[in-house]
């Protein structure tokens, strides 16, 4: 018997899946001397064509997702709820797709510059995006794990995409080995949860979970570790700087943003649905993780000389801020996390794109000093970088401030509501940390504006695609800070609708 299933729920995933499956073929077809268009493709044109094709898939998916965001929630339920396309999933998918689109646009010239313009890049990227989209919506453990792997495995390869670079290879191997280890832990946790509760559905687990029982908690702990690795929270963070530094810059931007978006989606869903009965205990552990992430991330970023490494530590710090919203655990907190993820994606990709444009002749220029004099030679890049840094540091009226404000405000409101001073302290530590973070974010504009470029420096002109990325990030970072209210309201509603659905859904 064929179960009645809502295939329409898969709508946003389909274009991406088509891209992931067809793009490797396109690469092969175009590699021939004479193509069906009877004109051989040059390496460069091939890259552009593939990029545009992937972009097309992503944009179609984006449009479907945006429609879905405003429509009713749907469940793909084939005897067992597989994915839940609720507001949260749609929104996170939108963020992932935006991040991926910007990455694709920012990759074209960078790949040519580092002589790695293979078509497989886009195919792998699309597979990874597909995995992320399933990860944000997975409603049982099996889907969660498959999606996580579908997201990660292409990324392992992408991290090592610069075959000629030692650093890139090292990065890929490290990411792969440690990532596999983390996946193993996650899987073990899932196995225990399944063994104990007898179900893989998140909702069912949530009903049967016994916070008094040690094995239940063991499973929960291992799942949290596995997801903690994906979001690179302290103490599961050490791979991040090495991997971010070694990976091709466009991939780093992608890894630093979309992976976290998807993994935070999964984390929130697992915590809010499956592990809800153990929330209080888990939040205690997450509290420590959040504080450690913020503090260690910021303090270590201070002494980094390599921008990619610095941004890696800074992203660890941002995970700490985001965990604040997760710990708050209310709709308001989740809405704040969603908003911050959106903002974080734009400001991080903006910064990484600038670093990517600087790469030239196969060599990354990613030390802070490499930015010297950029305000003179490339004012647009300098402005975007400056605004991204200010936004990351949380200076008003940029979007970064608005995001942090919502996170900490949610924590304080919740703290008053339930009379929990630990949430208040969390907000204080967060605010203090964002003050510390200025010490290193500020160094970047300082070098760009107040240092003269070395005479040999001749930074590349951003291409058309890259200009689009820069301007998009610029506009987003400014507008989300000045007129954030409509988006935040949408998010509050989506979070509310999502919770409604999560509580109702069961097989």
């Amino acid at each position: 018997m064929i179960p009645q299933i809502d295939i329409g729920a898969l709508g946003p995933m389909l274009p991406v899946a088509v891209g992931a499956i067809l793009l490797p073929l396109a690469e092969v077809l175009m590699a021939r001397k004479r193509t069906f268009l009877s004109r051989p493709f040059t390496q460069e044109r091939r890259g552009t064509f593939l990029a545009v094709a992937s972009l097309l898939c992503l944009v179609i998916a984006l449009i479907i997702s945006v429609n879905g965001l405003l429509g009713p929630s749907r469940v793909f339920n084939s005897g067992n709820p597989m994915i839940v396309m609720d507001g949260v999933a749609h929104f996170l998918n939108i963020v992932v797709l935006l991040g991926a689109s910007l990455t694709v646009l920012g990759s074209v010239k960078y790949l040519a510059d580092i002589h790695s313009n293979h078509g497989e890049y886009y195919a792998l990227l699309m597979s990874s995006v597909l995995g992320m989209m399933f990860l944000t919506s997975a409603s049982n453990l099996m889907m969660l794990f498959l999606a996580l792997e579908l997201m990660s495995i292409p990324l392992y390869v992408l991290a090592g995409f610069r075959r000629s670079s030692l650093r890139s290879n090292e990065s890929a191997l490290k990411y792969f080995l440690i990532g596999s280890f983390a996946s193993g832990i996650l899987l073990y946790g899932m196995a225990i949860l399944y063994g104990m509760t007898g179900s893989i559905s998140l909702a069912e687990i949530g009903k049967r979970f016994d916070p008094e029982s040690a094995p239940h908690l063991l499973g929960a702990a291992l799942v949290v570790v596995g997801l903690g690795f994906k979001i690179s929270s302290v103490p599961f963070h050490q791979w991040a700087p090495d991997v971010y530094e070694g990976a091709p810059t466009s991939v780093t931007g992608f890894m630093a943003t979309t992976v976290k978006v998807a993994a935070f989606g999964a984390l929130m869903r697992v915590l809010a649905v499956a592990l809800e009965p153990a929330a209080e205990l888990l939040y205690g552990a997450l509290w420590v993780m959040a504080v450690l992430s913020m503090t260690l991330g910021n303090v270590m970023a201070i002494i980094q000389q390599n921008i990619k490494r610095m941004l890696a530590y800074s992203s660890i710090a941002h995970v700490g801020y985001l965990l604040v919203g997760v710990i708050v655990g209310t709709l308001d907190g989740y809405a704040a996390v969603l908003f911050y993820l959106l903002v974080y994606t734009f400001m991080t990709i903006g910064a990484f794109t600038v670093v990517a444009i600087l790469a030239k002749g196969g060599e990354d220029r990613d030390r802070v000093e490499d930015l010297a004099g950029l305000s003179q030679s490339r004012p647009l890049m300098a402005v975007v970088m400056t605004l991204c840094m200010f936004a990351l540091a949380g200076i008003p009226p940029t979007a970064g401030f608005m995001g942090k404000f919502h996170l900490f405000r949610a924590a304080i409101e919740r703290g008053i509501e339930i009379g929990d001073t630990s949430l208040f302290w969390l907000a204080i530590i967060g605010v203090l940390n964002s003050a510390i973070s200025l010490a290193y974010y500020l160094r970047v504009p300082l070098v760009m504006y107040f240092r003269d470029a070395p005479p040999t420096s001749d930074p590349d002109v951003p291409g058309f695609f890259e200009r689009v990325v820069l301007l998009t990030c610029l506009a987003a970072v400014v507008l989300l800070g000045i007129v954030p209210d409509d988006i935040f309201n949408v998010l509050s509603q989506t979070a509310a609708s999502a919770q409604h659905l999560l509580l109702l859904q069961s097989p």
Binding site: N169, E170, A221, F229, Q376, V431, L438, R451
Partner: protein, 681 residues
């Protein structure tokens, strides 16, 4: 009957923003400078239009409403509404912000005009001129947002915005690494203050949230502040050394947090260190940002939240004492400095201390009055100093000046007016405002140690007169100590620079009359309530009332003038008649002189106590030890092993040594997590 809603207000800040955007975007996309006249028209036109608009609106405000109902609201849109939190992006024009916008746009416009002359020859960077005006306009915008903001969050946006612009402008002459570092220092110190500020906002919001009125709008807060006055908080045990431990009122705590922010922005102890360094920027910037407008934001904020501080005596006392101590502390440093701008900078710190002293004892209108007059005469002094520096070919050391009276007569006269005004010579503006402050301190019987503060204020007045006259004589009188070839090239400045000086000098002379104390008005012109500024402002602030009989008031004023005159005469004696005595006096007081000359070694102390440990903790301990080395140690031969591993082992491409450690740390983390969850660690 006029509506309180007034949609013209938004154009007061928006005009400078548009000026900044046009010139900024042009620079980014066209990558060349607009024609000079256009830059000037745009750069100066925007703040001047804004000033004209401000005058018109303030006039309407003052005339159209009866006293007690004077305010305009301009609501742009809902900025944030999430949960119970609600913040509009809206502007409020009431007497308090009216005074501020007039100062900001008025003095600001003059400084913009002055900059045209001052920056005209700055060709160090081919687009510098336009960029300078772009930042200057942006600053004006941010400052106007700060003072017009209708709630704490909008105020905070402007608060950070001005910090940002000052950072950009201090580092403006960026060829110098030192300038850039100074800009960074300013920004970081400000951020430390902002941390307190943000906490204060959260605390206030918390209080009003609990009381059932989740709001951060000033007027709404003021209305409901009575509900939260009694709310106390229990301090954590490690704060046991504080007075009043363990319970404070929430308002005291919030007030103190906000004041930390004010300390950063307005350069009070112990966060004043950035302001003297900020003098590295171009002189018009020093005049605009670091004398007339931005640094007074802290004072404005305290006055704006006077309804909080009037209910938080602990916080008010702290403000008064910090202000008083800063005033005298900075004044002593100013005595020994040799850089003309540094002297003015310390003088600014000292005068800001005066304003906080006034705000702390509840004389908010006196604080605002002094803020206004100080803007006039300090801008005048800075611009005069700029003219001097310009004339001296960028020499800033007053020991190498002298005798400039002959070369630059107009600059000299305007500067003298500034010196007299800041020293409190009657009937110049500084006399009235300083007098009102001292009177307020004298009469503040509720304040612990108010007489000590009063004496501090008096002594500071004497010190101020002394160091300002020292500056004046060393710069303008006697024989020139400049090299000969430089002497022949010293010229009076062009009209575009002198014109703002004249206007500011005029304001420094007559500006005090808007706040002519009642006693004087009564005695001289038989006007009742002649202190119109005071009555105008009293609608916005919750002032403490104090009654001093007119006779006592005149006596006190006389005493202040006497002390100031004493300081001035001492300077005349030392630096005009007996210049030979100066080296002998400094030699006799060598250790003391050294201590003051090195600014009490505060910078060195901060470097030793804060900056270096932080870097060391970050670098040596956290990064190298915990993140890398500790793990290597466990691995016995981490780094060496890595090198060998690459060199002579099979692992040619990848160093895997650290990876095992990474996995190990993950494992450790997991075990701890499990132990916490399962074992109830």
């Amino acid at each position: 009957m006029l509506e309180h809603v007034n949609e013209t207000i938004r154009w007061i800040p928006l005009l400078p923003l548009m000026g900044a955007l046009v010139s900024g975007l042009w620079l980014i996309f066209a990558r060349q400078e607009l024609p000079r006249p256009l830059v000037i028209g745009l750069g100066c036109g925007a703040p001047m239009l804004s000033f004209a608009l401000s005058v018109r609106e303030v006039f309407r405000l003052a005339t159209a409403f009866p006293a007690g109902e004077r305010f305009f609201i301009d609501n742009l849109y809902t900025w944030i509404s999430a949960g119970d939190f609600h913040a509009e992006l809206s502007f409020l024009l009431d007497p308090l912000s009216a005074v501020m916008i007039l100062v900001v746009t008025g003095v600001g416009s003059l400084i913009h005009i002055y900059s045209v002359g001052y920056m005209r020859e700055d060709h160090r960077d081919d687009r510098g001129f336009q960029r300078f005006f772009c930042y200057l306009n942006l600053f004006t915008f941010a400052m106007l947002v700060l003072v017009l903001g209708d709630n704490l969050l909008v105020l905070f946006v402007g608060w950070e915005g001005v910090g940002l612009c000052s950072y950009l402008l201090i580092g403006f002459w960026y060829l110098d690494d030192h300038n850039a570092m100074c800009g960074q220092k300013a920004f970081i110190v400000n951020r430390i203050g902002d941390f307190g500020f943000l906490l204060g906002i959260f605390l206030l919001f918390w209080a009003f949230f609990e009381a059932g009125h989740p709001t951060i709008e000033f007027y709404a807060m003021r209305e409901h502040v009575g509900l939260v006055a009694e709310r106390t908080v229990t301090l954590p045990a490690w704060l046991g050394f504080l007075p009043g431990f363990p319970t404070w009122t929430l308002l005291t705590l919030a007030g103190l947090c906000l004041f930390v922010g004010a300390c950063g922005k307005s350069a009070q102890l112990p966060l004043y260190v950035w302001l003297p360094d900020a003098m590295a920027g171009p002189t018009p910037v020093s005049a605009l940002i670091h004398a007339a407008t931005m640094v007074t934001a802290g004072v404005y904020m305290v006055c704006r939240l006077s309804f909080v501080y009037s209910l938080a005596p602990g916080a008010s006392a702290t403000i008064a004492w910090v202000g008083g101590l800063t005033a005298i502390f900075a004044a002593t440093i100013a005595i020994c400095q040799k850089d003309i701008k540094k002297i003015l900078a310390y003088s600014t710190v000292s005068q800001l201390g005066y304003m906080f002293l006034a705000a702390g004892v509840g004389s908010y209108s006196a604080a605002m009055f002094h803020l206004m007059t100080h803007a006039f005469f300090k801008a005048l002094l800075f611009l005069g100093a700029g003219a001097v520096i310009f004339g001296m070919q960028h020499e800033q050391n007053i020991e190498k000046m002298g005798g400039l009276r002959r070369y630059m007569p107009w600059t000299h006269w305007t500067f003298l007016i500034g010196v007299l005004a800041i020293s409190g010579a009657p009937p110049l503006s500084g006399f009235f405002s300083k007098d009102e402050i001292l009177l307020g301190v004298y009469a503040a019987h509720a304040m612990p140690g108010h007489m000590a503060l009063w004496w501090i204020g008096l002594v500071t007045a004497g010190l101020t007169a002394f160091y300002m006259f020292r500056l004046y004589f060393l710069t303008f009188s006697g024989a020139s100590r400049a090299p000969m070839q430089l002497q022949t090239r010293i010229r009076e400045q062009p009209v575009v620079i002198l014109m703002p000086l004249f206007l500011l000098a005029g304001l420094a002379i007559v500006g005090g009359l808007v706040g002519l104390p009642d006693a004087y008005g009564e005695a001289l012109f038989s006007l009742p309530s002649s202190n119109s500024l005071h009555y105008f402002l009293d609608e916005s602030v919750v002032s403490a009332t104090h009654v001093v009989p007119p006779a006592r008031e005149f006596a006190l004023a006389g005493l202040a003038v006497l002390i100031a005159a004493g300081g001035a005469f001492f300077a005349v004696f030392l630096y005009y008649y007996r210049t030979d005595l100066v080296p002998r006096v400094t030699a006799a007081l060598r250790p003391l002189y050294q201590l003051v000359w090195r600014k009490y070694y505060v910078d060195e102390l901060y470097s030793l106590a804060v900056v270096r440990p932080l870097v060391r903790i970050s670098d040596a301990f956290l990064y190298r030890t915990i993140d890398v080395r500790m793990i290597d140690r466990l691995g016995v031969d981490g780094t060496a092993g890595f090198v060998r591993g690459v060199a002579d082992r099979g692992l040619k491409l990848v160093q895997t040594g650290l990876m095992q450690s990474y996995v190990f740390v993950m494992l450790l983390g997991s075990v701890l997590l499990i132990a916490y969850l399962v074992g109830g660690l």
